[in-house]
Assembly symmetry: C2
Homo-oligomer: 278 residues x 2
């Protein structure tokens, strides 16, 4: 069958595959200083945001990504108080971070303010905590932000970025990770989205190498399903400044989640055989 | 973007979403007594088989499905010797079962002999063990086969079926599971593919209920990524006649796998929060 124009299609670059979502209508379309931002109402995935034609977030499945980008790192740190989110303009990760009662500061540094303003309009649930007094929304270059940060400023740094091309490429470099290490306090943890285990194992391997070369003591990848991202299977790679990644606070989740829990945290760290051999 | 005719597209029924694979050419197309069988050479997923327009197997990602349909159940049973595969006409599950040196009989009961003959031609790796002296290829109705089986005939039954519509619908019924229970020897285990945790949680819930109602002592669902199946996230639901599903033989994998290992076995049993609440 061939899909007609009532479908939004993203071709997964270089992978000879594509995902399509059936659209009811397009409700927003703008070109910001950085990218094209489009919002669609889909038939079964709720609201969809795309940036330069790539799926960023849908109502239906974003909970898995946002929970897995935030809770494993925050429950690995023994007592996270100061959290930095690089990117994450839809504010879904920020919203999860602020569920942790011990967090005193959650600072989000997104390059493109328009992404956040559009998210506030079309994804109000993800932006529900934007006015939390602990939240700070900055609109600046995250690479420069981390380079300029005072040593030991943060307990957890979350790199909720787009793919490692264009402005986001620098977020996957050894230099950036060295600056993260410096910006982290003792016991600090960094986590970054690391693409698909099936499609991008070389990227995951190079992130492990770069994080270790930057001086992180332990590095581990979390795997999780993410229907609307390439291959439907996604990952985040976590690194600890000076602690262990296999231990985490198991009893401290006192807020509701939809995907994350203790079983899932441990399970996400399991390495498929082909990744053990990388 | 709209995909042109060089793409194969499967619309995920009722889910307002679709996956597409870029095709080099179609190399086979026939209508068997039961269904249309098509084989394509894809650009990046190797050979693709579809049945009535639905993706069954690709070279690139079938290893996850076939390993997860077989090894968790076989390593849960303390000493599986007699294994029945219902469906599974591409022979990939049979091939994994026969990697277990303790297996003495692996009997595959597929309704449509043409699926197996076409697989032998186009997926020789999946059919590599079809001539193993322990393999028996039957072409018959699996529901009837299990109803007719002598009590205690099998140690493990694997239901490697198509979606729960048409001829496969009966493979998800309490009556079928009662017959499986009867056909299993003490310590027996049954496992069946149970669709997508994201798209079909109601099916998974109803399978749990039907398996328990049929008399199985324990029921558990295994989750795993499967890029080319609906949502990219798939599951198999396992039930034990009279033993526990949380324990499995951890040291006995003496053959290579690409996805499955002990860590993955335990991890696949983890329940996402929304499934714990089902």
């Amino acid at each position: 069958m061939t899909l007609d124009k009532s479908w939004y299609t993203e071709e997964w670059a270089g992978q000879g595959s594509a995902i399509s979502l059936k659209i009811k209508n397009k409700v927003h379309d703008e070109r910001s200083a950085y990218q094209r931002i489009e919002i669609y109402e889909t038939e079964t995935f709720g609201t969809l945001m795309t940036l330069d034609g790539l799926v960023m977030v849908t109502d239906r499945d974003n909970f898995i990504y946002h929970e897995m980008m935030s809770h494993p790192a925050l429950f690995t740190h023994p007592d996270p108080k100061r959290v930095l989110v690089i990117g994450g303009g839809d504010c879904g990760t920020l919203n999860e971070v602020l569920k942790h009662p011990g967090v005193e500061l959650a600072e989000q540094v997104e390059l493109d303010e328009r992404v956040t303003r559009v998210a506030e309009q079309f994804f109000p649930e993800l932006c529900a905590s934007n006015n939390d007094p602990r939240a700070r929304l900055r609109f600046a270059d995250g690479i420069q932000w981390v380079a300029d940060a005072k040593p030991g400023s943060y307990d957890v740094i979350i790199v909720d970025s787009t793919d490692p091309v264009g402005p986001a490429a620098g977020l996957f470099s050894e230099t950036f990770y060295q600056n993260c290490l410096r910006a982290l306090a003792p016991r600090g943890v960094v986590v970054g989205q690391s693409e698909s285990p099936l499609f991008h194992p070389d990227l995951i391997r190079s992130m492990h190498r770069a994080l270790r070369a930057a001086g992180f003591r332990e590095v581990a990848t979390l795997n999780f399903p993410q229907c609307t991202y390439p291959s439907g299977w996604w990952s985040a790679t976590m690194a600890a400044r000076d602690t262990a990644l296999s231990k985490f606070r198991q009893a401290d989740k006192r807020f509701p989640t939809r995907y994350y829990n203790q079983e899932i945290h441990a399970a996400a760290l399991a390495r498929p055989e082909f990744m053990r051999q990388l």
